[in-house]
């Protein structure tokens, strides 16, 4: 069973993965269109005020009217998200390994990590600008800050739940701790790590967007903020749609990577 992946587990052998992926994409698109059409119909029929829910076509028109800020914003936010995600994932797993190895460090530092996660970044917009300036790095840093913690927690859990008998076997081969790590513990923790990575894909996007609220000129976060404070609900939804597109796309990529890498599921 391709456990831990979120898509239907009945897809491994037989059909080619490309065909399955294509089929999934087409089906997803069809469902999306159907839902949008239904919303459009409902909004018209029920005469919903546009500032509660605007018609999807209005939103689409808004994007098509001035596509380039949306395209630019998408690319910019994507870049920030990727930077934050990658650094957060690497750091998250790395620090989990350190904590896993050095219990003392873990007990000393882990609470500090927890505390660090309780600081609302948006209270410190000025500090972020002070430290990182109006740079890509600033956004990536916030994105990183939101990403690494769940990765650490899950990776640690995964590393700790390795079958002790399997570890014993490796030790009987004279395996070094590094070898046990790379050949047993990391692969065994991979399913758990991927749960966190899927979560992190969303969080890193949040980080990038919040980062853009600190005086940036390009990005989906900027568009969102413009819409929010001008109470331009169509613009809000347009920005939301772009975020959803970016977020689900990124999530799908992470999930696909998971399917490719964690093919063995829960078999023992």
């Amino acid at each position: 069973m391709s456990a831990t992946t979120l898509q239907s587990p009945a897809t491994r052998p037989g059909t080619s993965p490309l065909v399955t992926a294509l089929f999934r994409a087409v089906r997803g698109l069809a469902i999306l269109l159907a839902v949008l059409a239904a919303v459009e119909g409902l909004v018209i029929v029920l005469n919903v005020k546009p500032w509660y829910v605007p018609r999807p076509t209005l939103v689409l028109n808004a994007i098509l009217a001035t596509p380039e800020p949306y395209v630019q914003g998408f690319l910019r936010t994507l870049t920030e998200t990727l930077m934050g995600f990658t650094s957060g994932a690497i750091f998250g797993v790395g620090i989990a390994i350190v904590f896993f190895r050095a219990r003392v460090l873990r007990e000393l530092i882990f609470p500090v990590f927890v505390v660090s996660q309780t600081i609302p970044v948006i209270a410190f917009g000025a500090l972020v600008v002070l430290w990182f300036g109006n740079t890509l790095i600033a956004k990536a840093a916030i994105s990183f800050y939101l990403t690494f913690f769940p990765v650490t927690v899950n990776a640690l859990l995964g590393l700790e739940s390795v079958d002790p008998r399997q570890e014993a076997l490796m030790r009987s081969f004279g395996a070094s701790r590094f070898q046990i790590l790379t050949r047993l513990q990391l692969p065994a923790a991979l399913p758990q790590i991927f749960v966190a990575l899927r979560l992190a894909s969303a969080l890193s996007l949040v980080g990038a967007i919040v980062g853009e609220w600190f005086g940036d000129t390009v990005g989906l976060g900027v568009l969102l903020l413009q819409g929010m404070y001008n109470e331009n609900v169509v613009a809000i939804w347009a920005a939301i749609a772009m975020c959803a597109l970016l977020g689900t796309g990124f999530y799908a990529v992470v999930a696909a990577a998971e399917r490719a890498l964690v093919f063995w599921g829960a078999e023992q």
Binding site: W51, G125, A126, V129, W213, T217, L223, M228, N230, A238
Partner: protein, 311 residues
């Protein structure tokens, strides 16, 4: 010589409220003054005072007198070198066909306002008109005007250039009645230009040059509003053009009111400043009077011929 790099931190994202600065950049007025100016937008919880005080930004278009007072009260070394909006930029809006005809009618009604200064203006207005603020149901105002449009709120606070536009487009201007702070003898000037004490002391020429170019930009914006809105729309293409045109017109009214006709754009009217300071002292937002002479510095404006400053 190479232009000196400098930044202007806005209080918010690009919009017609800041058109003059964008026009001045677009037309090269800062370049001509030897300044390579970057405009950095603001955002929620981005405090221009903070960034200017620490030197991260050279200039700031800050929240207003409220935040300048607060900053000085907390010891941030910022100096106000100009005031943009000479009048209180927000009004209190009610339904024209509703029961509220006067400020006295606020009693027992649900009033929402921003707890960022507007609340003090409201309280002062109520007190001036003989209403005990405790008898009014004053609540914080969220971003949306929908609760007012839907009738859940009796009185709403609106900036003349933003929320008012939104309410008006949804309900129609004829359905609205507004209450203005100035009618109760209260003024709350906002959108101040600030620099750090260091800049004020060490680079007075830079400040003067910045003011000169900015004023030029604003005058252009007022004389060619279409072109100014074009410039803004280029910086923020998703904005609503009609709204921005309205905004520029409103901002022009706010910036050219009061003594500006004689003393020019960005003039610092010390009388209005004192009224506002008293408002904050009464509300205990600041602990003690600030050193007005150190906080407000008109010398940079005064270095520019007054004829050039007049709108």
């Amino acid at each position: 010589a190479d232009p000196v790099p400098a930044t202007l931190r806005l209080k918010w994202l690009p919009q017609a409220q800041f058109a003059g600065f964008y026009v001045a950049v677009a037309k090269g007025y800062y370049k001509a003054e030897g300044i390579d100016l970057t405009i950095n937008p603001g955002g929620p919880n981005i405090l221009a005072e903070n960034l200017v005080a620490t030197g991260a930004d050279t200039f700031g278009l800050s929240g207003g007198l409220d935040s300048v007072f607060a900053a000085r009260d907390k010891g941030l070394p910022v100096v106000c070198v100009g005031i943009s909006h000479q009048l209180t930029p927000f009004v209190f809006v009610v339904r024209a066909d509703g029961p509220i005809k006067t400020i006295q009618d606020f009693k027992g009604k649900k009033v929402t306002t921003w707890f960022t200064g507007a609340n003090h203006v409201l309280k002062a207005m109520l007190t001036k008109n003989g209403v005990d603020p405790a008898l009014v149901d004053i609540q914080p105002q969220q971003v949306s005007v929908t609760p007012f449009v839907d009738g859940q709120v009796d009185v709403i606070t609106a900036t003349r250039y933003n929320e008012y536009y939104t309410i008006k487009t949804r309900m129609g201007e004829e359905k609205l009645r507004t209450f203005v702070a100035e009618d109760s003898g209260i003024t709350f000037p906002r959108d101040t230009l600030i620099v750090s004490e260091t800049t004020a002391k060490e680079k007075p020429e830079l400040v003067k040059a910045f003011l000169r170019a900015s004023i030029k930009g604003w005058k252009d914006a007022f004389s060619d509003p279409k072109g100014a809105v074009d410039t803004i729309m280029k910086a923020a293409p998703t904005l609503d053009r009609a709204h921005q045109e309205f905004q520029l017109a409103e901002v022009q009214k706010l910036m050219t009111a009061g003594k500006v006709k004689e003393d020019g754009l960005f003039w610092i009217d010390m009388d209005a400043v004192k009224i506002t300071q008293q408002l904050f002292l009464d509300a205990k937002v600041i602990s003690k009077p600030v050193d007005l002479a150190a906080t407000f510095n008109r010398s940079f404006l005064e270095a520019i011929p007054v004829a050039d400053r007049r709108p």
